[in-house]
């Protein structure tokens, strides 16, 4: 299914704070199970189709590692 938005997450830059999970009104994220090089477990954008494009996760991410982009062909 084509999504309106894509979640771009820099896996190695993430410190696993989980704030994106806390603020997301669409329940897009799941806790991650894989460690990155720093030993943190970044979350996973498991349900990008539920993304409302509110940018709440982008505003909450303190480590400049997450952004919400318009999906290709979605303007």
């Amino acid at each position: 299914m084509a999504h309106d938005f894509e979640i771009s997450l820099d896996f190695e830059a993430c410190k696993g704070c989980g704030y994106c999970l806390e603020v997301c009104p669409g329940n897009v994220f799941d806790p991650g199970g894989v460690h990155n090089g720093k030993g943190y477990r970044p979350p996973v954008a498991a349900r990008p189709g539920d993304c409302l494009g509110c940018q709440g996760c982008f505003m909450a991410c303190p480590d400049f590692c997450l952004e919400v982009l318009r999906a290709p062909g979605k303007g």
Partner: protein
């Protein structure tokens, strides 16, 4: 790195040295969004940093010119720069609560008194967290910290009847605002207004510290719950201020000290002259041999 950090920050400095869950990056991001929204670039702005969590996280991250001050003295350095640089060159300072409202308060007040065209962003984590979690001038009364094991029993600058922003307004600041680091576009607009104000501006951001304030004062290590406490304590939630950190021993801080209004606290652009512009005018006159007294505009 995201789009914003690629555009404005040095790649080797991102992600920064802040702890996981530290809200400093949220403050940092809002400043960059304001800069982007105003259409400014790296050559339009000089970025100064203080000492402590806020200074360390933002030090030398800006792609343009940077400078760092000793603890509480970055305002004095910025005052000199303000008199040397043209008005078009903005100066933004990112400092902490201890730097601005503790050791550097007198320098800060003197900048406000002179209404120097500076934008001071105070990133406040409610104590001296980079040195291990000692209480500071904005630590809530009653808070258990490393240096107040039985609860802080002195008044701070964030009391119900004692607000540091009132003091800065009385000292002559012409733009003041307060936000939580999680605030949305409204906080970006406040930073924009602060940068545009041709005088002394300060935006006070309160942000979550998980490692010390959360773990010791809130007795809570879960980052989501610490974040929830900050959101509730500073006005998002309907609950009693000082409560709501979830299960466990509960917050070891007093009550009745938070719930501040967020947004613009004071805005009076152009109501007072910027002393640095007066100095520049006077210097130009002296250079042309038209000396005479310095007309300050501040005298009645």
């Amino acid at each position: 790195m995201d789009r914003l950090s690629r555009k404005f920050l040095r790649a080797r400095k991102i992600p920064g040295t802040a702890c996981s869950g530290c809200g400093l990056g949220q403050v940092h991001k809002r400043i960059l969004l304001a800069i982007e929204g105003l259409g400014l670039g790296k050559d339009d702005l000089v970025w100064g940093t203080g000492i402590g969590c806020a200074g360390r996280q933002t030090f030398n991250t800006w792609l343009g010119d940077n400078f760092a001050g000793t603890h509480g003295r970055v305002y004095a350095l910025a005052a000199g720069l303000r008199m040397a640089l043209p008005r078009e060159r903005r100066i933004v300072l990112t400092v902490g609560d201890g730097d601005a409202f503790g050791i550097g308060l007198k320098h800060l007040l003197n900048c406000a008194r002179r209404n120097l065209d500076l934008t001071v962003i105070v990133a406040d984590n409610l104590g001296f967290q980079s040195t291990g979690g000692q209480y500071g001038p904005t630590t809530p009364p009653g808070a258990v910290t490393d240096s107040s094991p039985y609860g802080l029993d002195e008044a701070g600058w964030l009391g119900p009847d004692l607000d540091i922003l009132e003091i800065l307004r009385a000292a002559g600041a012409t733009f003041l605002a307060r936000h939580l680091s999680l605030d949305g576009q409204g906080s970006v607009e406040s930073v924009k207004a602060a940068i545009l104000n041709p005088g002394f501006s300060l935006v006070h951001f309160i942000y979550p510290c998980v490692t010390h304030f959360g773990a010791v004062s809130l007795a809570e290590r879960d980052k989501g719950r610490v974040l929830a406490w900050f959101r509730e304590a500073f006005g998002d939630g309907p609950g009693e201020p000082g409560g709501g950190a979830g299960e466990g021993p509960g917050p070891r801080v007093g009550t009745g000290f938070l719930k501040f209004g967020r947004g613009v606290f004071h805005s009076a652009p152009g109501s007072r002259p910027d002393y640095s512009e007066q100095v520049k005018d006077w210097t130009r006159k002296m250079a042309r041999g038209q000396g005479g007294g310095l007309a300050t505009g501040n005298t009645p």
